[in-house]
């Protein structure tokens, strides 16, 4: 019998690394995320967490290693191609299209799923109307996950902060990803909003059957919803495992709190 893989990964990295000049920002990053897994990426500030998101989405071209998305190497793809291949993300500092309406932000996410050409769009042939109607319905449906459908016509920059973070998730989801990368989704949210967000991330995973990888400092959220956690320090993974394993890992405690000097 042939060797059977223990688990099917939607996203896998091998020896992934990047240098900025002489500085090694990320090194030997090896990870595998299951098709419907929620994985947390934690670590002190400056550990390289967002850099990893930038590598996975090809904002940066890796110096070493490779990224396998759904069995395919993303080598040579640009960020738009990577998105079309199935990786969508949000941003640590919100990057919505401020001047566009909430609905249009979602429709930008749907861009590659709306099927009509330039000619059809300019002359508004029947296909334009049917496709735009479909996009409108889809956008409202997605917004409804976070109960934001009634704010569809509001300009994105007039939404309160928490709602902007949620809209970013909806916009990323609209691109039809296989894996969703969330960069500090709970930043700036109050405890009850965070509670709500946790439920929704789980719901998205269950309803869409996709994987989620998230960077977060709110340990309650991370420990609460992540099945696996990777801890990063100085660009290297220092621990991997389930939440309970991570919590009792001495290296993790050291990275966060420092070592106790003995015989001081």
């Amino acid at each position: 019998m042939s060797e059977k893989k223990e688990k099917e990964f939607v996203l896998e990295t091998n020896h992934l690394g990047i240098d900025f000049g002489g500085l090694t920002a990320v090194d030997e990053f090896n990870i595998g995320i299951g098709k419907t897994e929620i994985m947390g990426l934690i670590g002190p500030n400056g550990a390289g967490k967002t850099t990893i998101f930038n590598l996975l989405t090809k904002v940066y071209e890796p110096t070493r290693g490779n990224i396998i998305l759904d069995g395919k190497d993303t080598h040579g793809m640009n960020p738009a191609a990577v998105n079309q291949a199935g990786i969508a993300r949000t941003f640590q500092n919100i990057r919505l299209f401020d001047k566009l309406s909430v609905e249009d932000n979602v429709k930008i996410g749907l861009h590659n799923h709306i099927n009509y050409g330039l000619f059809t769009g300019v002359f508004r042939l029947p296909k334009y109307w049917s496709e735009e109607k479909k996009a409108h319905e889809k956008a409202l449906e997605l917004l409804d996950i976070f109960g934001m459908a009634d704010q569809a016509d509001v300009r994105a920059d007039s939404l309160p902060y928490g709602a902007q973070r949620r809209l970013e998730i909806v916009r990323a989801l609209a691109t039809g990803p296989k894996i969703l990368l969330l960069d500090e989704p709970a930043a700036g949210m109050n405890p009850s909003e965070t509670e709500e967000l946790m439920k929704n991330i789980k719901k998205i995973r269950d309803d869409f059957g996709i994987a989620v990888m998230l960077i977060e400092h709110d340990m309650k959220l991370v420990m609460g919803i992540c099945e696996n956690i990777a801890v990063l320090n100085f660009g290297k993974v220092i621990a991997k495992g389930s939440p309970s394993e991570i919590q009792s890992n001495p290296q993790v405690i050291e990275a966060y709190l420092g070592t106790k000097k003995e015989n001081a």
């Binding site: 989405t57 904002v59 640009n78 960020p79 738009a80 998105n83 079309q84 969508a88 993300r89 941003f91 990057r95 919505l96 299209f97 401020d98 001047k99 566009l100 249009d104 429709k107 930008i108 996410g109 861009h111 590659n112 709306i114 009509y116 330039l118 769009g121 300019v122 334009y128 735009e132 996009a135 916009r171 990323a172 691109t175």
Partner: protein
């Protein structure tokens, strides 16, 4: 006075159409395409040649020159600007000026410096019919001057057509950018190119499309301009191009309604100045507008003041 206003709006409409090309390219590619004015000239020559040598009707010549300019615009972007996508603004600006001179000299080589006299397309039966019906519903300003006969002079007819074409383009473009997926992609790229590409938008294709639209409009502006000022030479496009740039800055570069308002105001200022102080070249006033705008409100009428984040 009313005549001046009417003529000013007519001239301003041409500036507005050209300014659209500047403003859209600036908004999306964040660069000043100083070769834009010369695309107008190419549009003028393309329609001139098809009409005079091949005997095409004006409408066909217009479509042909739009096709030529669209291809030219996309080609220039692909060959000259795309390799500089991540270069400094200054490098791109200098390249644009280089392309401008390249086009002028290429035109000099092909068509020589002898002025070509552009046929007066506004005098053709098709337009006579169009304006006659248009006159019955609108244009009180023009009617005031020609009410006696009920028919426009050829020049007024041209002005009226220019204004109407400008309004149609504006309405079409506004609908395009606000209601179609390509238009929304353009606005997204304009706001945050990085975020747009991470949402799966093909930025290069979006920029190409912007150049295509801007250059296609330049062809229309070229035909309208040459029909009004029939002296066609290789440098025909440069002065209107620069004035349209002033108009775009006046209205707030990057803003489509800004280009419209900026263009029309500039045209009115130019014509009014020419009428009130005929001894002073009117261009002085046009460029005084640029200086005043840059001093008083550098972001233009419709521009948003961007506060530098510290």
């Amino acid at each position: 006075m009313l005549t001046n206003l009417f003529n000013g709006i007519g001239l301003g409409s041409v500036y507005a159409i050209i300014a659209l090309g500047y403003t859209m390219v600036y908004g999306i590619a964040k660069m000043l395409n100083f070769a834009h004015g010369d695309v107008i000239m190419v549009g003028g020559y393309a329609s001139y040649c098809t009409m005079m040598y091949l005997g095409w009707p004006p409408a066909a010549a217009l479509l042909f020159s739009m096709a030529i300019c669209t291809v030219l615009g996309v080609l220039v972007e692909r060959l000259a600007y795309k390799p500089l996508r991540n270069a400094s603004n200054l490098a791109v600006l200098i390249t644009a000026i280089g392309v401008s001179y390249f086009l002028q000299n290429a035109a000099l080589l092909i068509w020589s410096s002898n002025p070509k006299v552009f046929p007066n397309i506004f005098n053709m039966p098709f337009f006579q019919g169009v304006t006659a019906s248009a006159a019955s519903v609108s244009a009180d300003a023009a009617a005031a001057d020609t009410a006696s006969s009920g028919v426009f002079s050829v020049k007024q007819r041209g002005t009226l057509i220019t204004i109407v074409v400008n309004l149609i383009i504006m309405a079409g473009l506004t609908l395009f950018t606000s209601k179609t997926k390509m238009g929304k992609a353009m606005r997204a790229v304009s706001e945050d190119r990085g975020a747009a590409t991470l949402m799966g938008i093909n930025v290069n294709r979006t920029i190409s499309m912007t150049f295509a639209i801007g250059s296609g409009l330049a062809a229309i502006a070229g035909v309208l301009l040459c029909a009004t000022y029939p002296n066609l030479v290789p440098t025909t496009g440069s002065m209107p191009g620069i004035k349209a740039f002033v108009a775009a800055v006046f209205g707030g570069i990057g803003s489509i309604p800004g280009a419209m308002i900026g263009g029309i105001l500039l045209g009115v200022i130019e014509i009014t100045a020419r009428a009130l102080v005929p001894t002073v070249p009117s261009d002085i006033f046009v460029f005084a507008v640029l200086i005043i705008v840059l001093l008083v409100k550098p972001s233009g009428l419709f521009g948003k003041t961007v506060r530098e984040k510290v």
